[in-house]
Amino acid sequence: MELIITSAEDMEKLGRKLASVLKEGDVAYLIGELGAGKTTLVRGIAKGLGYEGKVTSPTFTLMNIYEGIMPVFHFDFYRLDEDADFEDLGLDDYVGKGGVTLIEWPRLQSGFLPAEALFINIEILDGDYDRGRKVRFTAKGEKYRQKIKELKEIAASGN
C-alpha cells in the first residue's frame, strides 16, 4: 500500500489512522532519510492512541515511552550501527510486549529485532524536501498483512 503525503499535518493524520489498527504487542519499523517525517508519523500514532504530551526525538535517549490508552515505545537507533549490542539495551522488556513498539532506524541487519512487523518506508519525493513524501506499507507476517488491509479501508473511507 502506498500513499502520497504532502504536509506534516497530513503525516500526523496518517499516524492517527494507523493508530486505530494497532494493538498491544504490535511492532512497526520506520525507514527513511533524516527529515523524511518518521517522528511526525510517530507523533500522530501516539496522539491516536490517546497520548496528549510531547513526542520528541529519541535519538539521544534511544527510547521514549508515551502513556496513552496503551503505552507507545518509541525507539530510535540512529546512533547505533548493525554491530551494536542490542541485547544490552533491554529491548526484550518492551518489544512486542504490553504496548505498541515503533522503531526508527531499526538496523534490521542486526537480526535482533522481530522479523514479523509492519514496515513503513517514507521516501522524500525526487529527493526534494519541499515536495511530498511517498509512504509505503509492507508487512511480514499474516497479522500485519491484515492490518494493512484494515488501514486501506480506513484510508479509502476518508475517516
Partner: protein, 337 residues
C-alpha cells in the same frame, strides 16, 4: 554535622561513566569522566555500544580513580549522590544500583539528583555570587530546556524543545554535510571559514511568544537547501555551517533573553554541551549586555556530562537532609524536576 561535607557523585545517564568528589558543593577534589567520544569518532559518529554494559565495565574503575585522585578513602565521604533522571533507563540504573550499594555498604546517606539540575549547578561550581532570580538555558545532545530559578532550590521548566534537541540537530546536520562528529565543534570549526547570510535558513519559533523550541524543521530546511545547492553546483559547506549555526544560536539566545526579561532575571546561565559553542556564548553575551545583567557559563570540561555537577548540586540537599531511600529508582523522563 562535620564542617566539611564531601560528596561522591555518580553520573551514568547516557554515554559517559563519571564519578567525582566535591567538597562543600564547591571545591572539586576529583572529576573523572570515561568518555566514549574517541570510540565514536572511529565509527564516524555512530555509537558502537551505548548500552549499559559499558557503564558496568567502567564504573568501579571510574569511582576508584575518583577516590585516588582526591587522595581520599571510602570512609572520607559524607554522602553518595547519583543521577536518577532523565536519561537512558538501562544506563541510569547502573549508576543508581551502584550508588545504592555503595551508600549501603558505607552506611552513608544517598542523594538523588536530576541530570538537568546538575548541568545548571555546573555554573555554581565555578562562579561565585550568581544573582537570583535567573534563567538557565540547558542545551545539549539530548536536552533543550529553559528553566526559571527563583533560588538555588526552586526552579521550573518554562520552555523546551518540541522535537529535536539543539545538539542533536548539530550532530545530524554535521553528519549530513560530512563534517564529522561530534557535530557541535565540527559545525563551529566549519562556520569560522564561512559567512552567515549567504544562505537563508529559518529562525524557527522566533515569532512565537512562548519559550519552546523546534529544531527538526531547521534540520530539514538545512538538508533541503544543501541538496538543492549541490545540484546547482553552488554548495559551500562553510557558508552552510555558518548559516545553520547562526539560525540555531539566534533562536536560543533571543528566546533566553526574552525569558530573562519576562521573569525579571538578574542573571542568565548557559549549561550543557552546546553551551561550549562560542557563537552561542557570544550571542548570549550581547543579549545579557543589552539587558544589563550577567551571563555565566561553565568551563568546557563542566559543560559536557560529568559527575562534579552531580556531587556539587547534592550539597544543598545534604544540608537540608533531603535524602533518598535505598529503594530509589531511575526514570527516563524529565518530570518531577
Amino acid at each position: 554535622m562535620p564542617k566539611e561535607i564531601r560528596i561522591l557523585g555518580i553520573e551514568t545517564s547516557c554515554d559517559e561513566t563519571a564519578a567525582s568528589i566535591v567538597k562543600n558543593g564547591k571545591e572539586i577534589m576529583s572529576n573523572v569522566v570515561n568518555s566514549q567520544i574517541r570510540v565514536h569518532q572511529q565509527f564516524g559518529g555512530v555509537v558502537p555500544e551505548v548500552a549499559s554494559r559499558k557503564h558496568i565495565q567502567n564504573i568501579v574503575m571510574v569511582v576508584h580513580t575518583a577516590f585516588a585522585e582526591a587522595g581520599m578513602s571510602y570512609d572520607d565521604i559524607d554522602a553518595v549522590a547519583v543521577t536518577n533522571r532523565p536519561g537512558l533507563i538501562g544506563a541510569l540504573l547502573v549508576g543508581v544500583s551502584f550508588a545504592k550499594s555503595f551508600a549501603y555498604a558505607l552506611n552513608k546517606p544517598l542523594i538523588a539528583v536530576n541530570h538537568l539540575y546538575g548541568h545548571i549547578y555546573a555554573n555554581f561550581l565555578e562562579h561565585d555570587n550568581i544573582e537570583f532570580p535567573l534563567v538557565c538555558l540547558v542545551v545539549s545532545g539530548g536536552h533543550t530546556s529553559l528553566l526559571f530559578m527563583q533560588d538555588i532550590e526552586n526552579y521550573e521548566v518554562i520552555g523546551e524543545t518540541l522535537d529535536d534537541a539543539a545538539g542533536e540537530a548539530f550532530d545530524k546536520v554535521a553528519r549530513f554535510l560530512g563534517l564529522g562528529y561530534p557535530g557541535g565543534p565540527a559545525v563551529e570549526r566549519a562556520a569560522e571559514k564561512g559567512v552567515k547570510g549567504r544562505y537563508q535558513l529559518p529562525r524557527v519559533f522566533l515569532d512565537r511568544d512562548d519559550f519552546d523550541f523546534s529544531f527538526s524543521g531547521l534540520k530539514t530546511a538545512a538538508m533541503n537547501l544543501w541538496t538543492k545547492m549541490e545540484r546547482r553546483g553552488e554548495a559551500n559547506v562553510y557558508d552552510m555551517a555558518a548559516e545553520f549555526q547562526a539560525a540555531l544560536v539566534e533562536v536560543l539566545a533571543v528566546k533566553t533573553a526574552r525569558a530573562a526579561e519576562k521573569y525579571k532575571a538578574r542573571s542568565i546561565l548557559l549549561a550543557g554541551g552546546v553551551a561550549a559553542n562560542s557563537e552561542l556564548r557570544r550571542a548570549a553575551q550581547i543579549e545579557a549586555d543589552r539587558l544589563g545583567i550577567k551571563l555565566y557559563y561553565p568551563s568546557l570540561k563542566l559543560c559536557t556530562d560529568n559527575a562534579a555537577m552531580i556531587a556539587g548540586s547534592a550539597y544543598h540537599k545534604f544540608i537540608n537532609g533531603q535524602f533518598a531511600s535505598l529503594d530509589l529508582n531511575a526514570y527516563a523522563t524529565m518530570s518531577m524536576l
